[in-house]
Each structure stands twice: as structure tokens, then as C-alpha cells.
């Protein structure tokens, strides 16, 4: 390490490059991290489910999927029925099967934990059923659900992430016409841009979008951002209702010197670059990478940096392990992938010359319940620094926007309606759990409320 620090301070150039691993190794690193269960595995696992009554797993699911029901259908060999049951509750059941922190949701509530310390693998079973239905829909071109008769109503959905897609789908199902606007070049939101590649292998995010749109009645317009190409006032005028699902597109800064040095980047941008790269060998990564943050984005960035071939990846979090927003399963996954963890330290400066070479940290402690920096600290060599300290609402200042508080759009918790009549919001842009499954739940609920709102206006 001392040689390395000598290098750092003598100003040798940072070591950032693409193609650190041979192509085959890279392909293996970014393939499905948890391949689907085989038919036999699914049978064995499905038969572990007790088919609980008033099942705790269902209560624990934000979208209340009938989990015992779909698992029983798998056990009886009724995969189409299993998949339909899931999609009935959660049209993004395929993504949720891959990315849900099941250990704190359905699987955390499974009664098998109390008996055996080993829950039924609900997420993996959900993938079996949803994959089967999506694959069949792709082959036949027939969507499992049908639209209600057209209502003649038009709804604008802004943001084609999980909340927007779920809302659009439910609205389309109810017979409304939906225009879905997306700021980026592709729909899918975080599933397309913001989640580790090995969790969404084989283009699943795009396949899922196509599946969802397969119900019909949804027009997609990409490269349409609120405050840029879109104006909320105009949307309210042109549509019968508006749903805002604009997520948290902004990124928080560290506010330390050196943050602008080359080699310092937002973890979300790093992940996005990786996700959009056809050839992972084209994505540059540092030899020594420091990731700052303790959430799932930090974990996804750190593990993917390691899998791209970084020699040493250190994840630094300002509080203790138990305080990390990332679940223990995610933390263990990072540790298993060789990511080093440092807790109780915060960056105070990023150092370097033509590029970043090191990050200086101060140790932290809790003083009177608040985080305090200590005099003591350490320096980590770094060719690349990935910042993952949180995201924020990113919209142009506009008087047409609904009320915002603490960085989130304010909604009526029952109706998800904002301060502007006819404008609803959900997903990461409102307060609540920042989970795909919660966004889907918001989107679906908003669609139901919008449907009621539109019917109410019919009579009014």
C-alpha cells in the first residue's frame, strides 16, 4: 500500500481501462447471477410451501400477490395459472422475482423460517411462473389479460419506470387510452438503467416492457422529460388525468474537495454505462475503486466494478454494517464477490492530479445521536471513485408543479393525488420504500384511483 501511495503522491497517472478480463470471463460475470430453477427444483421447492391460510408472505408483499396460490399452481403443473395469478396482482412480477429484497418481504415472513430457518424460495418460484407466461406471450403474441371496453378517456403517464408502467398497464386494462412519456431513450426506468446487469440478464427489462405494453392502448414517447419537452400545464389541459412517476433522477453530491476530478463518477452513471454497453469489455474501470455509500446502488456498483476486473474494490459507509440500507443478503453478496467493506468513515477529500488517485477519509462516530467526524482518518488509493450517497427529485423549477416536501412530491396517502387536481404521483418521487415492488404497488393503486376519479367526473 505504501508503494501505491507513493505512486499516488508522485503523480503517476491513474489506472482506468476497459477490458481487464477476457471476454468469456466477463460474459460469465454478467450472466444471470441466479439462474432460473429447473422444473425439478421448482417442484421440490413448491412442495415445501404449506399453502398457509391468510399467509404472512402475502401480507408482507406490497402488491399482495397470492403467493400460496401461485406456488400451489406450480406444484400442480399449472404454470400459466401461476403466472396469471402473479400478474393479476403485480404486472412486473418478473422483475420483482429478480430484484425484490425477498428476505425482508415475502421470504422474511415465511412460516418456514420459524420451523426450519429456511423460507420457501418464493422469488425463485415466482420467476419460474412469470418467465413461463412471458415466454408464451412472446411466442403467441397473446397477452394474458384483455382490455375493458374503451372509455374514451386519455391519461398521461410521465415516467416509464416500474410505477409508470404498472399504472399505464392498469389504466389500459380499464379501457383508458394512455400516453406514456419517458425522459430517456428507452422505457424501463431503473430496471433498464439502474440495476446490476446480472440481476436483469438477457435483456429482461426490455422484454418485460414489451410484455406489459402487449395489452394495447399504451403509446410510448421516449426522450420526453418533464420541464424539458413536456409541460405539466399542457398535459393537464390535453389529458383527463396525469400520473407522475418521475423517480429520483438527480444524484446527491459528496460536497468534498476534488469531487470534479476525472475518475470520480456517480454510481448510477457507472451502472447505466454498464447496462447499456453491448460489450462489457468496452466499459472502463479503475484498478483500485472506492465506492462511497451503503445502499443497493453502492452494492451494485461495487460488485460490478469487481466483476469488470477491478483489483481492489472498497465500499466505505459512514455508519455501521447494521445501519446500511442494503439488506444483509446484498451485503453478503458483495463480500462474497470480494468487495472490501469499511464502516464508520466519511470522505473528506478526493486527491489526485490529472485524475483521482486517493480518497481521504475521517473516521466517524455517533455523538449525541448525530454523526460526527473524528480527527483520526485514513487514505485509500483510488483510480476511480463511485458516489452512491443517494438520489433526489430532478425537475426544472416550475410553478405548474405540485407541492414538494423534503424532496418528494406530496400526495394524499389514500388517493395518491397531488396538490393539483387530476394529477397523481407514485414510485420513488413520493415518499415511501424505494423498491420496485412498492413502485408497482403505487402505480397500480394510482391507476385504480384515477379510474375512480374519471368515473366520478363522468357523473359530476
Amino acid at each position: 500500500m505504501s508503494d501505491l501511495l507513493d505512486d499516488v503522491f508522485s503523480g503517476s497517472s491513474p489506472d482506468i481501462k476497459a477490458g481487464r478480463l477476457p471476454g468469456e470471463a466477463l460474459a460469465a460475470c454478467f450472466a444471470d447471477a441466479h439462474p432460473p430453477l429447473t422444473r425439478d427444483q421448482a417442484d421440490i421447492e413448491a412442495n415445501r410451501c404449506y399453502f398457509c391460510y391468510d399467509a404472512p408472505c402475502v401480507t408482507a408483499c406490497p402488491t399482495a400477490i397470492d403467493i400460496p396460490g401461485f406456488i400451489r399452481a406450480i406444484a400442480t403443473g399449472n404454470l400459466p395459472g401461476a403466472g396469471r395469478r402473479i400478474f393479476e396482482a403485480n404486472i412486473m412480477g418478473g422483475a420483482c422475482a429478480r430484484v425484490c429484497p425477498t428476505e425482508i418481504l415475502c421470504e422474511g415472513a415465511c412460516v418456514r423460517n420459524a420451523q426450519q430457518h429456511k423460507p420457501v424460495e418464493i422469488g425463485a418460484l415466482q420467476r419460474v411462473a412469470t418467465d413461463a407466461v412471458i415466454t408464451r406471450a412472446e411466442a403467441t403474441g397473446v397477452h394474458p389479460f384483455q382490455r375493458a371496453a374503451a372509455t374514451g378517456r386519455r391519461v398521461a403517464v410521465v415516467g416509464a419506470g416500474p410505477a409508470g408502467l404498472a399504472c399505464a398497464h392498469e389504466l389500459a386494462r380499464s379501457g383508458h387510452a394512455v400516453d406514456l412519456f419517458e425522459a430517456r431513450p428507452k422505457p424501463g426506468g431503473l430496471n433498464e438503467y439502474g440495476i446490476a446487469a446480472y440481476k436483469m440478464a438477457d435483456g429482461f427489462a426490455a422484454r418485460e416492457v414489451n410484455f406489459i405494453l402487449g395489452i394495447g392502448g399504451i403509446r410510448v414517447f421516449t426522450n420526453q422529460a418533464l420541464g424539458r419537452e413536456l409541460d405539466l400545464g399542457a398535459l393537464r389541459r390535453d389529458f383527463d388525468a396525469v400520473f407522475l412517476a418521475i423517480g429520483q433522477a438527480g444524484v446527491k453530491s459528496l460536497a468534498v474537495p476534488g469531487e470534479a476530478l476525472p475518475g470520480v463518477m456517480d454510481a448510477v452513471r457507472f451502472i447505466e454505462t454498464l447496462r447499456q454497453a453491448e460489450d462489457k469489455a468496452s466499459v472502463p474501470v479503475g484498478r483500485h475503486v472506492v465506492v462511497i455509500g451503503g445502499g443497493n446502488t453502492a452494492i451494485d456498483a461495487a460488485v460490478q466494478a469487481k466483476r469488470l476486473g477491478a483489483e481492489l474494490v472498497t465500499l466505505v459507509y459512514r455508519r455501521g454494517r447494521e445501519d446500511m440500507p442494503a439488506t444483509t443478503v446484498e451485503q453478503d453478496w458483495a463480500l462474497m464477490n470480494g468487495v472490501a467493506f469499511r464502516h464508520w468513515a466519511a470522505p473528506v477529500a478526493i486527491e489526485g492530479g490529472e485524475g483521482v488517485r486517493a480518497v481521504r477519509f475521517a473516521r466517524t462516530t455517533l455523538a449525541g445521536g448525530r454523526l460526527a467526524l473524528l480527527e483520526d482518518g485514513f487514505v485509500l488509493a483510488a483510480d476511480m471513485v463511485l458516489k452512491a450517497v443517494g438520489q433526489s427529485l430532478d425537475v426544472a423549477e416550475s410553478e405548474a408543479l405540485p407541492a414538494i416536501a423534503q424532496g418528494r412530491i406530496v400526495v394524499n396517502p389514500d388517493t395518491l393525488e397531488t396538490s393539483l387536481p387530476g394529477v397523481f404521483a407514485g414510485g420513488d418521487c413520493i415518499s415511501g420504500q424505494d423498491l420496485t415492488v412498492q413502485a408497482v404497488a403505487d402505480g397500480k393503486r394510482a391507476a385504480q384511483r384515477i379510474d375512480e376519479y374519471l368515473k366520478g367526473r363522468n357523473h359530476g
Partner: protein, 423 residues
């Protein structure tokens, strides 16, 4: 150490575990492997008259349950399809090599005295310990007037048994078919004919399943299927009842128990219900002959623990408590009890009781751990919840103090009740 050796109707064996007459006992090769594994005896797969029968390709159908294979097996195989002389030579050789094991030969020939007389003489020359008369085979042979076609007519059972006793010095075991309304009738006929023992059950007539793609019963032979004989764990309760009825009605008649036996515990239950030895087939076909090792050890350990020195100490031990329904005490009551510590909150007991029984289980009030509790006033002690609960020992049945002894024979609701002595 318990003594597992037996003398069953004059046939000696080092332990009570025999392989039933079936594919595992069709050849010297298999039988020798079984003896090497520790089986106490075999009933050689049924011999018939030459020319031998022809067996179909596709012979078994299986049924699984919740991911477990072979809860039940059915077969459409017939008796041995090898020439009689080959079997007789192999039996002779095997008995000579394994003198301490029981070698019983299963027989099925046409219902003519001469046929039986001839084959009995041939079997006797092999040195075999006894014969078992196959009056049970429910398919293929019965259509030719053999197997179950004989076993279902008590008069024939008695007649053939008598021939066998007349024409042979060997112990004669009569194997009974369960495909009959009253098992006591053929058992009594066998006894009247002089049988030394009965064995049961043979397989139950069955269609194991239907191929929904080809729309044909399973297993299929060139696209079509036929009924077969059902065996395996699923038939054990049927067999236990029939064995017990014979043991209760005909004390002293040795019974070889057959039907779904796969473990030492199954065997102990068959012994308790009146068997002097047991015969195994499906479990061996599922897992191989090595299962006998745990059967021997398990039974021996259990007998030691319970203080039973010999198999005979266990045989028919439960028969005094195998009563008719009318002798049950209707004044006795048991009530379910849920251990809140062990309860995992699956709710299965609640929904079963709520939907299909007596509305006697509710969610415990309070929002701590999700557990269920019994409404004692509503519980009739049916036991359903205790069988459904996936946690061993979580739901137990607590016997209540019985106020009196009141059977149906004495019950005031019974119009035909026997007047009490006091009245």
C-alpha cells in the same frame, strides 16, 4: 438384544423380514443379493405350469404425492415367465447355499387336483421350506380361472388348500386377495382346508392414472392400458385392517403381513396387528435390498426399548384393543391443544376447522406473534388439526376426565340399546 428369529408355521428364519413373491424374487441372482443384504426369507415369484406366461412391456404405473415418488405402485406383470425347470433348479441351489433362510415357493396352477399334486412334488424336491398359494393375483391370471378368481370363491380356496395339504408335507400358506367384501370368509376357508397360515394382502385392483395426452389408462402398452394390482405405502391401512380382522377372529392362525411395509415401524405395526412375519416388495423395488438393514436394527432397538424379547411377544399385541365401533366409550372426550411456542402461524388448522369441521380454532387476540388457539367449548376432539399441523408436537390431543363408560350399545340414543343391569 431382542431375538428376531422366527418359526412361522414351521418355517424358520433369522428375522421376520421376507421379500414377497414378486419381481425381486424371480431369479437366484436377485434372491442371493437379498440374502446377502440380510433378508430373513423370500417367497419365490409364483411358479406355474409350462409353457410359461408372457409378460407385457410396460409393467408398472406409479403415483406420487406432493413431490414424493411412489406413494403407490401398480403392476400388470404376471407370474414368472421363465420355464418351470429353470426356477426349480435355482430354488434348489439357493436353498442349499442359504440353509438358514426361509425359501417359500409361490404357486399358481389351474384348479385341477393333478396340476397341484404334480407341482407340489416338484417343489418338495427342491428342499424349499414351504409353499404359498397365490389366490390373489388380480389381473391376467384371474381371467384364466386362477389367482384372485380362486381367492374370491371361499369354496375353491378350501378345496385347493385341502389338495395341497394332502399332497405335500410342506407348510402351506394361503395368500389372500383384498378384492373381496369380507376377508374373513376366504381366511376361514383356508383354515378349514388345513392351511398352516395365511398371508395378505395381495394387490388391490386399480387404475393408477390416466395419460391425459393420449387419453389412455396408465401404464400403456402400445397405446392402451389395463387395470393392475395396487401396492406400496398407500395400501398399508387397508392391509392392517384385514390382517387385524383375521387375527381377532381366528387367533392361532399364523398371518404373514403384506402391504406397504417399508420401515421397521411399519413392520412393528403389522406384528402388533397379528402378523408373525412380514413381506416386503414395493419399498425394496424403490430403494433396493439395503433397506432391510435399518428394518432389522430399528425393530431390534425398538423391541429392546419396549422390553419385548421375541417377535412372538409383539405379534397380536394390539389385537385386544382392536374393538368394534360399538364398543367405544362415547362418554370419553379429547380436546386439541396448540403450543403457542411451537406454532409457526401457518393457519392451516384454523381454515381446516373453520371450513370443514367445527369452527373451534381462532387467531389468538393480541398483535404479538401470530398464533392460533382452540375454542375448547367447540372442539369435539376430531384430531383433524393435529394431522394438518406441519409442526411435530405443536397440536396435541388432551384426553379429558371421562365421567362414565357409555358405549353405543348402552347409549340412550340407540333404539336397540341393551338395558343397563341396574334398571
Amino acid at each position: 438384544m431382542a431375538d428376531l428369529s422366527i418359526n412361522f408355521a414351521g418355517i424358520k428364519a433369522p428375522n421376520p423380514f421376507w421379500l414377497a413373491s414378486a419381481p425381486p424374487t424371480d431369479k437366484a441372482y436377485n434372491v442371493e443379493r437379498a440374502f446377502a443384504a440380510g433378508w430373513g426369507g423370500v417367497v419365490w415369484k409364483t411358479l406355474g405350469e409350462d409353457p410359461p406366461v408372457v409378460n407385457a412391456s410396460s409393467r408398472y404405473g406409479g403415483i406420487g404425492y406432493n413431490g414424493q415418488r411412489l406413494m403407490g405402485l401398480n403392476n400388470i406383470e404376471l407370474i414368472t415367465d421363465r420355464p418351470l425347470q429353470v426356477n426349480l433348479e435355482e430354488i434348489t441351489m439357493v436353498k442349499r447355499k442359504w440353509p438358514d433362510r426361509a425359501v417359500v415357493v409361490s404357486l399358481m396352477v389351474p384348479c385341477e387336483e393333478e396340476s397341484w399334486r404334480r407341482i407340489l412334488r416338484q417343489v418338495e424336491e427342491t428342499g424349499a421350506d414351504g409353499v404359498e398359494l397365490n389366490f390373489g393375483c388380480p389381473h391376467g391370471m384371474s381371467e384364466r380361472g386362477m389367482g384372485a378368481a380362486v381367492g374370491q370363491v371361499p369354496d375353491y380356496v378350501e378345496m385347493v388348500t385341502r389338495w395341497c395339504k394332502q399332497h405335500s408335507r410342506m407348510p402351506v400358506i394361503v395368500k389372500l386377495t383384498p378384492n373381496i367384501t369380507d376377508i374373513l370368509k376366504p381366511a376361514a376357508a383356508a383354515q378349514a382346508g388345513g392351511a398352516d397360515a395365511v398371508s395378505l394382502i395381495n394387490t388391490v385392483q386399480s387404475v393408477i392414472g390416466v395419460d391425459l395426452d393420449n387419453m389412455a389408462p396408465l401404464p400403456t402398452v402400445d397405446g392402451v392400458g389395463t387395470h393392475g394390482g395396487y401396492c406400496g405405502p398407500a395400501v398399508k391401512p387397508i392391509a392392517l385392517r384385514m390382517v387385524g380382522e383375521i387375527a381377532r377372529a381366528m387367533p392361532g392362525l399364523p398371518v404373514s403381513g403384506i402391504g406397504g411395509i417399508g420401515t421397521w415401524r411399519d413392520a412393528a405395526e403389522f406384528l402388533a396387528m397379528g402378523s408373525g412375519c412380514v413381506q416386503v416388495c414395493t419399498a425394496a423395488m424403490h430403494y433396493g435390498f439395503r433397506i432391510v438393514d435399518d428394518m432389522i436394527n430399528g425393530l431390534s432397538d425398538w423391541m429392546d426399548e419396549k422390553g419385548y424379547a421375541r417377535i412372538a411377544d409383539v405379534t397380536a399385541r394390539a389385537i385386544p384393543k382392536f374393538v368394534h365401533w360399538q364398543d367405544l366409550n362415547l362418554a370419553w372426550k379429547t380436546i386439541a391443544s396448540i403450543d403457542p411456542e411451537a406454532c409457526i402461524g401457518c393457519g392451516l388448522c384454523h381454515i381446516a376447522c373453520e371450513d370443514t369441521a367445527h369452527q373451534a380454532i381462532r387467531l389468538s387476540p393480541g398483535d404479538a406473534k401470530r398464533v392460533y388457539e382452540i375454542i375448547e367449548d367447540e372442539c369435539v376432539g376430531c384430531n383433524l388439526c393435529s394431522h394438518i399441523c406441519p409442526v411435530d408436537g405443536c397440536i396435541t390431543m388432551k384426553p379429558q376426565q371421562a365421567s362414565q363408560h357409555l358405549t353405543w350399545k348402552q347409549h340412550p340414543n340407540n333404539p336397540l340399546r341393551v338395558a343397563e343391569a341396574a334398571e
